[in-house]
Symmetry: C2
Subunit: 409 residues, 2 copies
């Protein structure tokens, strides 16, 4: 096994991340959303960098931008990359690091030469921040999207995803043409988005699994009552029941321990009047874990906790599972190569789960998948002040390039 | 002091309550709102009953309907009555009992004869269920409304109160003409709307005070965070803070004991996304007590409880007092007469506060005020199944008639 570290052009890498970060920056806020003007600008910039690296540029049927470094042996392809879109008010690294780092890695590999073909990709969308859909780019590549979904999915202004495609000279009827069956390995470099590497080290991690999610909708029913004439002891207050459930849900996640997390992000009540005891409360639960059995245990314990509170308080509770995403483990063979690549950079990488969703979990449906993480300062992400030390950005990209060199040998 | 009980026509009283209850009943739901069609129908029905009782009918500048029984001595006037409007989905007794009972009482007094002038009134509005205003009828009588308020206040469809008046041939420019300064006593018969008389007896109560209210708006600020990548131990979750505050607020009211009540009726969060830890939570608090010093103590303890939870959890909290309504005590001299009247009906009345708001608290600004309560079955009110035993309805109306006879002597 080689321990040769592949060097990359660190200065250019950092400049390009800054340059890509300017696409979509307006009035101090960054927002680059699928098929908007900033997205068009960013894809053009990325395409120019791919060409500059001496790679063949290709734009597929949904607007993913590919760069290809032809190997001498042909056969199935190794791909690296990440997404080009951002959340509203996002930073310069989430997604961007993986795709700009991927271009730099391929530029370095071009001088070394590869036996197997390696490609880099800028997925057109991952965040789900404009349209009522998510992973549009990576799902197109695994053949998981349809023209019907493009016609159905709308943004906040009512524009369909299909109309937005046509405005960019993309034909929504042809989205299935973006599907590929020749990719056998996918590797993604990404920021952690959590605080662990920054606070505890080391400077690199190899991802063990991408956390799975359970989304629940909880409806609590009590009795709407007059806020003046109903004594405290006789109330069946749906919102107070929900409050006790929220505290119980947080305790369940805390007791199960990291990386278990549970979040109540939305809540509403009826009749929602200052002077009426709420008769109905509805809230969402987002529960995550990176071990599938633990994810299921967490979701079940949350349901039990809500039912227990409801029983104690004479309330009815109805819990609807909205969406389940199972844990996606990374590929052990690919991860072994990623670990060796980190060691070539003199870092013994930390094995850790990804708490965030990733394009990699979609690509894992059809390919052996692995991920490298670099630290996020203060764990900050999905915010303007998202940051990673420049030396860690370069280090992660060197590890990515080294891993690709090993995989492509 | 007389102990002669004044008899009323119980059968007609019960029939009239049923008849008034049919005004505004549509598709199984009752709703009679200020200046709507059901309101017009109800005021016409009430006016006809006043005429049938041989009283002089008068409709004032805001649509309150008055019936006058002239006394032999002239001078300042004794008034009884209540409101004609209902909440959406309201019952047949809230408001209606006091005004139909008042007409029956005056019909009985007409045969006995009175030295002082006694009037009955159907206030046009008390519930605040249509327009962005409340106590429109009683506030008009004490001279507390203006044409500007009529132009400013709108219903859910955007119709101004002034436009709704014009549609009923009432001139909003002349609302001040409804004011009176010749009422020295106001007496109201009402259902309890709470469970105490029904469950513990006796069948009549004389109100000691009308509870005061503190309305607060609480804003909790934490840090919005990624629902996946932020470990439970590092969250500053505004909604979980709000949940702990809601539990603490309920505990404060419970510990202070009846009649202290505190209600969180409205809540919202930002950014209100399933997968984002809430950064901001806002909720309303409605706190009530019928002793003014206790009302202030309750409000202060709620503020302290919220601040303590915020400090424990590293959250910021900002509490805005929205409205304060001080406790309104009833008049001791009037209440003594009401007690004697109850005793004439062989009931030793229970002294108790009104937990609900009442027209009486507005009338108390200019007049000596007292109230009689009859039981509400199961404490139910502001609902279609609001009910009082027929014998209690008749008993309360006899006590009212007896009290008016004593006051008018």
């Amino acid at each position: 096994v080689s321990t040769l570290l592949v060097e990359v052009d660190g200065a250019r890498l950092l400049q390009r991340l800054e340059a890509l970060g300017r696409c979509g920056l307006r009035s101090g806020e960054r927002y680059r959303a699928l098929y908007d003007d900033a997205w068009v600008e960013a894809t053009a910039v990325v395409a120019s960098w791919i060409e500059e690296a001496g790679l063949r540029v290709r734009r597929d049927a949904v607007g993913n931008v590919w760069g290809r470094l032809e190997g001498t042996a042909g056969g199935r392809v190794i791909v690296t990359g990440s997404h080009i879109d951002t959340v509203r008010g996002g930073g310069t690294l989430d997604g961007a690091l993986g795709l700009v780092g991927g271009i730099e890695a391929l530029a370095a590999l071009r001088w070394i030469g590869v036996r197997r073909t390696v490609e880099t990709v800028a997925f057109c969308e991952e965040e789900g921040s404009r349209f009522d859909t998510q992973f549009w780019g990576s799902r197109a590549v695994i053949g998981d999207i349809t023209p019907e979904e493009a016609e159905r999915s709308r943004d906040g202004d009512g524009t369909t995803l299909a109309a937005a495609m046509r405005a960019r000279d993309l034909d929504p009827a042809r989205v299935r043409e973006a599907a590929r069956d020749d990719i056998d390995t996918f590797v993604e470099l990404h920021i952690e988005q959590g605080p662990f590497l920054d606070e505890e080290g080391p400077r690199l991690a190899v991802v063990t699994a991408i956390a799975g999610t359970a989304h629940l909708e909880v409806e609590v029913r009590g009795v709407p009552d007059h806020a003046g004439t109903t004594p405290m002891s006789r109330r069946r207050d749906a919102l107070r029941g929900a409050a006790a459930m929220m505290e119980a849900i947080a305790a369940v996640a805390r007791d199960q321990g990291d990386p278990a997390v549970a979040t109540v992000g939305r809540i509403s009540v009826e009749p929602s009047q200052v002077n009426v005891v709420p008769g109905v409360a509805r809230f969402s639960v987002d529960a995550r874990h990176s071990v599938e059995a633990e994810r299921r245990r967490l979701a079940a314990a949350i349901v039990q906790a809500c039912e227990r509170v409801a029983a104690e308080r004479g309330l009815a509770v109805h819990i609807t599972p909205l969406r389940e995403r199972e844990v996606v483990p990374t590929d052990e063979r690919v991860s072994a190569v990623l670990r060796d690549a980190c060691r070539a950079a003199d870092i013994e990488p930390r094995p850790m789960p990804s708490a965030a969703l990733q394009d990699s979990q979609i690509m894992a449906v059809r390919s052996a998948m692995g991920m490298i993480f670099v630290p996020s300062i203060g764990g900050r992400s999905h915010r303007m002040d998202e940051a990673t030390k420049p030396e860690d950005i370069v280090l992660g990209t060197r590890a990515l390039a080294t891993a690709l060199a090993m995989l492509a040998r």
